[in-house]
């Protein structure tokens, strides 16, 4: 049998986005893979150089469209370090709450799409139903469903509304039993287990070598989680466990994400308790006007003439739902960032595709790539 290259993408139900997996096969067996990216390259890093510091936030939501607020959090942390601004305490907790809700929403979205790839239709419906409740929560305090535009350099735009924590607890109460149902649908099914066990194995030392992070790394037994190892925001003040598995396969990644959702609920309950008892300002005082919108950046040229600006470089790293994300913001004293550079976790996870796909069969590609949780927006940026 001769070998041949086939294209899976850019329009293929497996891809969940706009990318192309070129696969060299011999019969059913995968000999080589070559992911072809860039179909969604929107030049976010370049556009950021033409925008005010706060205006970049509108791009961050669209960078990773299933975890928008986590990317906002990543960016504002780096920008604050570059500009020498500290967020208020309450806004820091609200940011952390947002990130955890986003992790829940992202993982549920992953569950819905991944299990649909395996041929099960109903988990998609259940997943989307429960995710909508989280998006309703987001909408009640940010004003958007997917694109929030909520965080600002120095805090967040507005406080959570009255009765929010009560409603959030209701949603959490509703969600927690659902995880059991999800598990019953998947782990209780032999078909699911037979499809996913020992598939897409990538051991821990390979993960480290290839830069693979997030649930893929933790499913191989590593305990690296930036929320624990390098606590940012207020993660040092809440209790949670790092979810790990040791099988390093698709089932392991499923288990890690399921456990992470439970841990997110655990974190969220602590954060909501804190928010109930600690009112305070959510936007830092003494913000410089030249930060830009919504602080009316008019008369730009004239403004530049008369001021000495602080310079600085900010670096931040968060544990995004997909893995380790970093941002590097260079402030050269202008009104716009001089250079913004992001590290996308899925970018690194995909670059190792050769190592967890080769040797398996063509029919194994959807579950394996589904377990990677590809979000093309953040890969291509």
């Amino acid at each position: 049998m001769s070998e041949m290259w086939i294209n899976m993408g850019p329009q293929h139900p497996m891809t969940h986005g706009l990318w192309n997996l070129r696969v060299r096969i011999d019969g059913e067996r995968i000999l080589d893979v070559d992911p072809e990216m860039g179909y969604l390259h929107r030049g976010i890093e370049k556009i950021s150089e033409d925008r005010h510091y706060n205006e970049v936030i509108t791009l961050m939501d669209r960078t990773c469209y299933v975890a928008g607020i986590a990317w906002e959090h990543l960016y504002v942390q780096a920008a604050e370090k570059a500009l020498g601004i500290a967020p208020t305490e309450r806004s820091d907790w609200i940011r952390m709450m947002s990130e955890e809700f986003q992790r829940l929403a992202s993982h549920i979205m992953w569950y819905a799409a991944f299990v649909q790839d395996l041929g099960l239709m109903s988990p998609f419906l259940y997943g989307m139903r429960d995710r909508d409740l989280i998006l309703d929560l987001f909408q009640s305090y940010t004003g958007g469903r997917l694109t929030y535009e909520y965080m600002r350099v120095g805090g967040v735009r507005n406080d959570v509304p009255e009765g929010f924590t009560h409603r959030a607890r209701e949603v959490l109460d509703w969600l927690e039993p659902r995880f059991v149902e999800y598990d019953r649908l998947c782990m209780g099914s032999d078909i699911f287990r037979r499809r996913c066990d020992d598939l897409g194995v990538l051991k821990a030392n390979d993960c480290v070598r290839l830069g693979v992070t997030g649930p893929m790394l933790r499913s191989a037994g590593s305990k690296r989680d930036l929320r624990k190892d390098r606590p940012y925001s207020r993660y040092s003040q809440v209790e949670f466990d790092v979810a790990t598995a040791d099988s390093a396969d698709v089932t392991g990644r499923y288990l890690v994400r399921m456990e992470e959702m439970r841990q997110s609920v655990r974190i969220l309950r602590q954060v909501l308790d804190w928010l109930d008892s600690h009112p305070g300002p959510v936007l830092a005082d003494h913000l410089p006007r030249w930060l830009g919108a919504p602080y009316a950046p008019i008369g730009r040229e004239a403004y530049l003439l008369k001021r000495n600006y602080p310079k600085g470089v900010g670096l931040s790293a968060i544990e995004e739902p997909h893995g380790e994300a970093c941002a590097y913001v260079v402030n050269e004293g202008g009104e716009h960032p001089y250079r913004v550079k992001f590290r996308s976790p899925v970018f690194a996870n995909l670059s190792a595709a050769h190592h967890y796909l080769v040797g398996y069969h063509v029919a194994d590609i959807p579950p394996i790539m589904g377990s990677v949780d590809v979000c093309v927006g953040e890969v291509d940026r």
Partner: protein, 158 residues
């Protein structure tokens, strides 16, 4: 881990080409190094200092020079380390890090494509995000964004 630790360990391992080691918020230290010493320095950072995970590689166009930076992570020390090197503005090039950290492969492809830094001996230096044959390096300062209102669109059939 603080800059002093990094300095001691690098000196003990005999790392070449270190220009300066300075504190940097959020990481253990920022190590500026001479790009010609990259081949020797990277394995020392990985093995002797214990930074096996490369997070990102990025390039900055400072008009009069280029800068390339590497962010690496150490699991036991639970900290980042930032390596950076200044490159020539005319022909920015540096030895590839993908021989030492395989994860640098795509990051360097991206940095070459968008910033225009040449990575010598890179195994697979071709376009990643832009189509093949794209002539420009968009993240260079000289590259200006256009106004699409004036854009003339020509549709080509394939």
């Amino acid at each position: 881990m603080n800059p002093e630790d990094v300095r001691t360990k690098l000196a003990a391992a005999g790392a070449p080409g270190i220009i300066s080691i300075e504190p940097f918020e959020g990481v253990a230290a920022r190590v500026k190094f001479d790009p010609t010493a990259a081949t020797a320095l990277f394995p020392i950072v990985r093995d002797a200092l214990g930074f096996p995970h490369l997070s990102m590689v990025g390039g900055i166009d400072w008009v009069e020079r280029y800068e390339v930076f590497y962010l690496v992570w150490s699991d036991p020390a639970k900290t980042y380390l930032l390596l950076s090197a200044d490159l020539d503005a005319k022909a920015p090039h540096i030895e590839t890090a993908s021989a030492c950290w395989p994860s640098a492969n795509w990051h360097e492809r991206e940095a070459w494509e968008l910033v225009g830094i040449q990575f010598d001996h890179h195994p697979d230096l071709r376009h990643l995000l832009m189509p093949d044959g794209y002539q420009f390096h968009p993240l260079q300062r000289a590259f200006k964004l256009h106004e699409p209102e004036d854009l003339e669109v020509k549709v080509r059939h394939v």
